[in-house]
Symmetry: C2
Subunit: 215 residues, 2 copies
């Protein structure tokens, strides 16, 4: 496949897709955008992605795929090996639920445009933004820790010993947490899984500081 | 299937699952919770759903499924007819991306616990909450309107003329918008699709005011 990833090194949703592409062994051209400079708000980019968000996965046939989890599900459908979701429907529901805990309950509340909005509408300074960010991470990571610690399907990864979509989301979120230096001590299962993922080249290569546009 | 839906009439994610169950023709027992009274924070409920959120779909075999989109994907896998996602991977990616625009970019920012947090942390009054809520709806509905208006796959529903997961999300979000009386005039394609969905019994039966716990 001829793939170009329109993304930003520090974007958590971009990190998810980079890790998924790496896990699938699919090479891609890296196209960086500077979000603060409005580079995703140009007419050309909005033509690819009407939300003006990263990432967008552009295929050689001109189709642009948007929304990180839709891209990851698509990758898993068109290139099933190695799988990013288990085969059994109950297990798939479990892995998706872990993924959405992060993708629907943490990240949407803590991304850059939300922090900007808190500043614009409520005058939230760095300290208030950190409090907000930490609140949502903690609320859901407490529940995720509980879920992962209790479920017998947890292993070195969120589901067994091979990475799934849930690990992709967890890995990206832990990196995102570093914006406000949130320590992982309170969530030992999450920490252990993250540390394992860091040893895997597909994840390590997707880490924000390893990207060409990292300062 | 023996199904119990732990939910709340006004919850947007609950509305999604009710509509999906109705579309699949699956009956379920309705178990209502009063969120403001902390009924989802009890040890018994947290045992089903460690996040203390609605909905949870409890099966007769004791398995509890959480996260509305994980439940809907599971339903589509175990009971494929009528499908809630198209068959072609590109089309599936499209329908999922429309779904996630709502599920990851609007709803997480506007649910009740976020409005409470804005009040607690920033003293946001009703007017400020409305401004926040409307901002996130408008930002994403503008992009969704653009996407739906331009894509040749749009029909009476978000994808063609039969309902998919995207319609389930759209329908629930438009109902949620009524909390702050947001008119749909600015988004004619979304409005037309919503009005069509309202004529379908599976959706109409899922509407918040039609539920047993509606005041």
């Amino acid at each position: 496949m001829d793939l170009r990833l329109h993304n930003f090194f520090r974007s958590s949703t971009s990190t998810r897709v980079r890790a998924a592409l790496n896990l699938k062994g699919l090479p891609y051209e890296y196209v960086p955008y500077v979000l603060r400079d409005g580079e995703t708000r140009t007419p050309a980019y909005l033509g690819r992605n009407p939300q003006g968000l990263v990432p967008t996965l552009e295929r050689g046939d001109g189709v642009n795929l948007t929304q990180s989890l839709a891209i990851i599900e698509w990758l898993d459908e068109v290139q099933p090996e190695p799988p990013l979701l288990p085969r059994d429907p109950d297990d798939r529901a479990w892995v998706r639920s872990l993924s959405y805990m992060i993708a629907c309950e943490i990240h949407p509340l803590n991304n850059l445009r939300v922090l900007f909005r808190l500043c614009d509408q409520f005058g939230a300074d760095d300290e208030a933004q950190k409090e907000w960010f930490t609140h949502w991470v903690s609320l859901t990571f407490d529940a995720l820790e509980d879920a992962l610690a209790k479920d017998p399907r947890s292993g070195r990864c969120c589901f067994g010993d091979t990475p799934t979509m849930a690990d992709v989301c967890l890995y990206a979120q832990v990196w995102n947490n570093r914006r406000f230096a949130i320590p992982l001590d309170r969530w030992p299962t999450i920490r252990t899984i993250f540390e394992h993922l860091e040893t895997l080249p597909a994840f390590a290569k997707a880490a924000p500081p390893r990207q060409p546009d990292a300062a």
